[in-house]
């Protein structure tokens, strides 16, 4: 096994090394070329994955995106803990309350404990619209790790500890919606659905893509032709109308969890084509490689060749393409829910939250209702940058 691995690496290298000998910092020299290189010794003995990590680390934007994504996913997993309020707790007295700013300097001078000002309410006599202004006499200090609404952490441990909260008054960091529900808490809860739908959807399309693409690339022939035509066909249908039609066909009486699964399946029914294409082209090019022939001559079984030799050598590419296809899923869910065809309240997702911001009047009155959209953009951008970084790192031997 050891021998085969070494052989594979050398094989890949020698080809690339010939191509761009001079610029290639990370190339492992083939025998005979060793003398020409006087670089860092560790580069030569580093494994493929180590090289990838180094290369990825050089991509600063991708690294920053990875950090942002980790934060977003942590918030999504522990949303009950980070959210100060229950997302369905409403208080009509504070409908459309604007975001409160966090202050450190108040009437008692500077204090390390941040606080927010209370609201002063007025009603516009003409439009009957409520106008909120900060009430500088009322200060609500913000406490960390406070007791609040009880919940079960990860669905297992009952607790009532919250990351932030107030002992008296209220804190609406990102304002409230038309029923006076805290947007900050709602967005945190929404991130759980919106970000996980991307992961699950991609996982499903990944399974479909690797199976179908792998078969069609490895065996070729009639099956390949049919799959190619099918992929072309699916890609030629406008996605949003098709998604709309399919999700409109989900029975309205389904429980939320089933609708969630249904939407995920609908999204991945179209999403698998890209992955299948990548897998297929990789299979096609690897099939002819020497190390595959060698393995075949050694009498390895088909399955062993595929999973022990071929899959590891393009796994990094697959990971990169998977990362790049998550944003499409998240955007798809958001768009569908926004149109009212995807997830429906009481389920909370970013798309459902954006439904509140569907007409100009509510946006004009409460622009902070667009905040879930901002999070969608941040998440999607981060995934795109991360995917770009991974794609560059996936081929560590190239320049």
């Amino acid at each position: 096994m050891q021998l085969k691995n070494g052989k594979r690496r050398n094989n890949v290298n020698s080809k690339k090394a010939k191509k761009n000998l001079s610029q290639d910092r990370f190339c492992i020299p083939t025998p005979g070329e060793e003398d020409e290189f006087s670089g860092d010794e560790s580069v030569y003995v580093a494994s493929q994955w180590q090289l990838m990590r180094w290369k990825f680390n050089k991509h600063r934007l991708a690294k920053a995106s990875l950090v942002i994504l980790i934060i977003i996913y942590l918030c999504a997993i522990f949303c009950e803990f980070f959210a100060p309020y229950d997302p369905n707790k409403y208080d009509v007295r504070f409908a459309y309350a604007p975001p409160q700013r966090i202050h450190f300097v108040g009437k008692n001078g500077f204090s390390l404990r941040p606080f927010v000002y209370g609201y002063e309410k007025e009603t516009d006599p003409e439009t009957l619209r409520r106008i909120y202004t900060p009430d500088y006499d009322v200060e609500y200090p913000i406490y960390f790790f406070t007791r609040g609404t009880p919940y079960k952490l990860l669905g297992i441990w009952p607790t009532d500890l919250h990351f932030i909260g107030t002992k008296e008054g209220h804190v609406f960091l990102w304002g409230t919606d038309r029923m006076g529900r805290d947007m900050f808490s709602r967005i945190l809860y929404g991130s759980r659905i919106s970000t996980s739908i991307g992961l699950i959807g991609v996982f499903l399309s990944f399974l479909l893509g690797i199976l179908i693409g792998g078969f069609s690339g490895y065996y070729g022939g009639l099956f390949d032709v049919i799959v190619q035509r099918l992929i072309e066909f699916i890609r030629s249908i406008p996605t949003i109308p098709l998604w709309m039609a399919l999700s409109a066909a989900l029975p309205p009486h389904w429980p939320p969890l089933r609708v969630y699964l249904g939407i995920t399946i609908i999204l991945s029914l179209i999403g698998w084509t890209d992955l299948a294409r990548v897998v297929r082209s990789k299979f096609l090019s690897l099939r002819e490689e020497d190390f595959v022939t060698a393995a075949r001559l050694c009498g390895a079984s088909e399955l062993r060749i595929v999973f022990r030799h071929m899959v590891p050598s393009f796994l990094s590419h697959i990971i990169a393409s998977v990362t790049l296809s998550i944003p499409g899923m998240i955007l798809g869910e958001t768009s569908l829910s926004f149109l009212g065809l995807g997830l429906r309240p009481p389920v909370i997702s970013w798309g459902v939250l954006l439904q509140e911001a569907q007409n100009v009047r509510s946006i004009a009155q409460a622009p902070w209702l667009l905040l879930p959209g901002l999070l969608v953009i941040i998440t999607v951008l981060s995934f795109n940058f991360l995917g770009d970084g991974l794609r560059d790192a996936a081929d560590p031997y190239s320049r």
């Binding site: 030629s236 996605t239 109308p241 409109a248 926004f338 149109l339 065809l341 946006i363 622009p367 999607v380």
Partner: protein
């Protein structure tokens, strides 16, 4: 020629998918239609039901219904919209025209914007301008179209005090076609065009820039430069031409994206195109209308892709002689 033949099975598949969509909602649509009528307090006449039953062959097996539907469509009969109580055909054509107009305008917009920006950012690689363009491009890809529409609407409403929805000023909505109406439409058209075109433009700039950079590093460019060909001429005569290929080749797969984007943008801006009507049809389970929309939109896309493939073969000899 082969491409044209390939399109035929695609069209058949599309018709099957559309038909499945029509059939998807539980129960056949006639029962829901009857229920709807009786709810509205109207007397349902047995003869009408029997006539409808016969017309769509509802008492027959599914595949016969399918053939009946396709046959009717080939003769211009798309079925009946139950919500509007009008033939589907009369409902979709006008809206479809607007969809096509917006899609085409968007494509032209994409080209016009992407070309100079792409040339600029490839020739000024790693300059501040290049970074700004790339950054805007990334945002353009990441931002959902309906978000962009909402934000534009909000800005227009909050800062300019005007409503940007619709394709016509109120005065012209019901007016007959005239020069003034056309001008009025053009005034409203740019907003959806910008919104729908944003992500496509961003993508096209990225591909164009990468292609042009590849070309610029090739030896023939260096040779030409060494021989003293003026930089401007050098740029436009060869590398730009080769790098232009994606402008045509992406038409094919950007069409579905355009139609998708147009659908959702129209819903937000409430334009008189297919989008809002499709949404309504789906919500009220008016399936003949919805199915026909999907069918016609997909067929248009396939035709567009076909045209772009033929164009590509015509423009790029490397493909023609392969």
């Amino acid at each position: 020629m082969k491409r044209v033949l390939y399109a035929i099975p695609t069209l058949i598949l599309i018709s099957i998918v559309s038909f499945v969509i029509i059939q998807l909602p539980p129960g056949d649509f006639l029962t829901s239609y009857v229920a709807q009528l009786s709810q509205a307090g109207e007397m349902v006449d047995e003869a009408t039901i029997a006539a409808l039953n016969k017309r769509y062959g509802l008492d027959q097996p599914v595949y016969i219904q399918y053939f009946k539907w396709v046959w009717g469509m080939l003769h211009g009969d798309f079925g009946q919209s139950f919500e509007w109580n009008r033939p589907v055909g009369s409902l979709i054509w006008e809206r479809l025209a607007f969809t096509v107009v917006i899609s085409l305008a968007t494509m032209v917009f994409t080209w016009i914007v992407a070309f100079p920006i792409g040339v600029y950012s490839a020739t000024h690689q790693y300059s501040a301008g290049d970074y700004i363009v790339s950054f805007i491009g990334f945002i353009g890809i990441a931002i959902p179209q309906f978000m962009l529409a909402l934000i534009l609407m909000w800005i227009a409403y909050a800062y300019f005090g005007q409503s940007v929805g619709g394709l016509f000023s109120p005065a012209y909505v019901d007016a007959a076609w005239s020069w003034a109406k056309l001008v009025d439409m053009l005034k409203h058209l740019w907003i959806p065009v910008v919104i729908v075109g944003m992500s496509g433009t961003a993508g096209l700039i990225r591909t164009f820039r990468a292609n042009l950079l590849d070309e610029l590093n090739k030896p023939y460019v260096t040779t030409a430069r060494a021989k003293g060909v003026p930089e401007r001429r050098l740029l436009y005569k060869y590398p730009v031409r080769v790098a232009m290929i994606p402008f045509i080749s992406t038409v094919g797969w950007s069409l579905p994206a355009l139609i998708s984007g147009e659908t959702i943008t129209s819903v937000v801006l409430s334009l008189p195109t297919t989008g809002p009507l499709l949404l309504r049809a789906l919500q009220s389970q008016d399936m003949y209308l919805a199915g026909s929309f999907i069918m016609v939109l997909s067929v248009l896309t396939v035709i567009g892709t076909l045209v772009s493939d033929i164009l590509l073969a015509w423009v790029d000899p490397r493909i023609r002689y392969e």
